[in-house]
């Protein structure tokens, strides 16, 4: 059978969801953001909640996330997305409100906002992209940077005595009674993407049941910041990030 005979509408097996816009993403080649955006968009399409979903984008590489998903968006100040989400969800309790935040945004400058939103059990979804580095500003050390990991502000590797320990936000918020579902995933293989999608679907389903905060960390790569190819980044992530940030469901109530 010729390729041209296979490429027909009735044989379609996988295509880009309509909830993604046609804008070309500004992310570097191989960036995990693109995969996570897509998975969120697919969940929104499958749940048929495009009209009722409000995204809150952060400051960081994904500051322009609003260019890529065909939904209403608010662009927050650095770290404050959970505060915007709190108000949005409280004022429009029937909407699906999610924040999309990187590790600098969520774990550093926005530590107070995320802890308190989770502790209040705001009925929102939090997507937390952890690549252990500040991408947008040029590869500086993040709270999540691993010990010994070189960045532009830890050029000799993160020194615990100088800069403290890498912060495990996900374990931290799992301890808060306001969170209902807390999980850590990745998106480097098709299998990982399928698991991630299942988790994000569950998180959005939790909003229907008004169960409180669902928090999903995605251990991610930053090829440009890590100065590796996308493929080598995935390998580095598996070898170095996964042992410290183990994947799995941490809390499901």
């Amino acid at each position: 059978m010729e390729v041209k005979d296979i490429i027909k509408e009735e044989n379609l097996a996988y295509k880009k969801t309509k909830v993604l816009t046609d804008n070309e993403m500004h992310y570097c080649p191989g960036c995990t953001h693109g995969v996570v955006h897509k998975v969120i968009a697919e969940v929104i399409e499958e749940k048929d909640i495009q009209e009722n979903t409000i995204g809150i984008s952060p400051v960081g590489c994904s500051v322009l996330a609003y260019n890529y998903l065909h939904i209403d968006w608010q662009e927050a100040a650095h770290g404050r997305a959970p505060a915007l989400a709190t108000a949005t969800s409280r004022l429009m309790p029937d909407k699906y409100v999610f924040t999309y935040q990187g590790d600098g945004d969520l774990a550093s400058i926005g530590a107070a906002e995320i802890i308190h939103a989770c502790n209040r059990g705001e009925n929102i979804v939090v997507i937390f992209i952890n690549n252990g580095i500040y991408g947008m500003t040029g590869g500086q050390m993040a709270p999540t940077t691993l010990e010994g990991m070189p960045t532009s502000t830890s050029p000799y590797g993160r020194d615990i005595k100088l800069s403290g320990h890498p912060l495990k936000m996900t374990e931290l918020v799992a301890n808060l009674p306001g969170t209902t579902f807390v999980a850590r995933h990745s998106a480097e293989t098709a299998g990982a993407v399928r698991k991630l999608k299942k988790a994000i679907r569950k998180a959005f389903d939790n909003i229907d049941e008004k169960k409180g905060t669902s928090f999903i960390e995605v251990v991610s790569t930053c090829s440009s910041g890590w100065k590796l190819t996308p493929e080598a980044s995935n390998t580095w992530m598996k070898e170095n990030m996964f042992p410290f940030y183990p994947l799995g469901i941490i809390k499901d109530e």
Binding site: Q50, E51, N52, T53, I54, I56, V63, L64, Y66, H70, I71, D72, W73, Q74, E75, A76, A77, R80, A83, L84, A85, T86, A87, T88, R90, L91, M92, K95, A112, E113, I115, H116
Partner: protein, 361 residues
């Protein structure tokens, strides 16, 4: 006649917010304005009007909740006092940049730093010049009574909606804490979802329906040409406010040879000072700016053709005096008399200052 009550300024503003149909209040306790959130939590407006009240984890969070709520096309407000407002400035700048209506109340206390919990007017610059980063202005109203604390909720919010711009009620610890008779307005229903869609559908993040493009609330524009264009739009808005929204109150200005200029609590003390001066045969008038931005520049410029000198009376080291001097542009002497750090001037001191700094000066 509306319902009459004896209330603190802070209580009145909370009650007025419920009655005006505010959708959400986001606050954090700080003296001397904590009665605002205390009143709301005691009143439980969520049971009555559906108004949401949240005690946030910080002023930073409260102001960013304000940003999120405003982005939904909801009527939202926050209140604080000086050190807390400094923390809110981040979000206020975003709200101004994203062009959202919202209301911030500052019940001012003395600074700098933690300063004092006593009243002051030392946040004038912060309020009228923008305060946070970037070229922006708030619509700023300065109440001088508990009645105005209540009334200005609606007055400022209507302008905030009209201009899609954050507004501030710049009060002080005296007005916030003192009790006076206040006539409360009747309850207004909150905007329905349909009304929000009709009024704010072009920008509010209420969910992307098939009949419109997605709404994005952001202050970010990386293309310099577009960012400049956006700033031009903001500046045009501020200019329109200057031309059409100035409010002031003038007393005894018809025959005045000297002018006191004061807002908020100081304006009340100046009324007494004016009486004392007139008893002594000095023809003194009082101009009270009600809007601090836009500022009654034109009115002061006109009065500069009539009076021999002006005295700005502020509970600060001299802030509004700079705007008066800009308005007067050197035509007559403009001096400042201030007490600060929590000290309130007496009427006698003001008359003495007028005589010493302006009349003999």
């Amino acid at each position: 006649m509306g319902e009459l009550r004896l209330m603190k300024g802070n209580e009145a503003i909370a009650e007025a917010a419920i009655r005006y149909g505010v959708d959400g209040y986001f606050g954090y306790p700080i003296t001397p304005q904590s009665e605002v959130i205390e009143t709301l939590m005691a009143r439980k407006p969520w049971e009555e009007t559906g108004m949401v009240v949240v005690q946030a984890e910080s002023e930073v969070a409260a102001a960013n909740m304000l940003y999120g709520g405003a982005a939904c096309g909801k009527k939202v407000m926050t209140s604080s006092s000086s050190p807390g407002v400094s923390l809110k400035l981040e979000a206020i700048s975003y709200i101004a940049g994203a062009e959202l209506p919202a209301l911030v109340v500052n019940v001012v206390r003395g600074g700098p730093g933690l300063g004092t919990i006593q009243p002051a007017q030392s946040d004038y610059f912060q309020a009228v010049k923008g305060g946070g980063h970037g070229d922006y202005h708030l619509i700023v109203f300065a109440p001088n009574s508990v009645q105005e604390m209540a009334d200005f909720v609606e007055d400022t919010y209507e302008l905030a909606i009209k201009y899609r711009n954050p507004a501030m009620i710049l009060s002080d610890g005296i007005i916030g804490q003192m009790m006076e008779k206040v006539e409360l307005k009747d309850f207004k229903p909150r905007f329905t979802d349909a009304e929000i869609k009709e009024k704010f559908g072009s920008w509010a993040t209420t969910g992307k329906t098939p009949d419109r493009e997605r709404n994005i609330v952001t202050s970010l524009e990386l293309q310099s040409e577009l960012q400049e264009k956006h700033n031009h739009k903001l500046q045009a808005k501020y200019q329109q406010m200057r031309e059409t929204e100035v409010r002031f109150e003038s007393t005894n200005t018809e025959d005045a040879e000297y002018l006191l200029v004061a807002y908020g609590s100081s304006s009340r003390i100046c009324r007494k000072a004016m009486e004392l001066a007139r008893d002594k045969g000095i023809k003194v008038g009082l101009l009270r700016p009600i809007t601090l931005f836009p500022f009654p520049t034109k009115q002061l410029a006109e009065l500069a053709n009539q009076v021999k000198g002006m005295l700005s009376v502020e509970m600060s080291a001299g802030q509004m005096v700079e705007d008066i001097r800009l308005a007067v542009n050197g035509k007559v002497p403009v001096e400042h008399f201030g007490r600060y750090g929590g000290i309130i001037h007496s009427p006698d001191e003001i008359v003495n200052a007028l005589e010493k700094q302006i009349i003999k000066g």
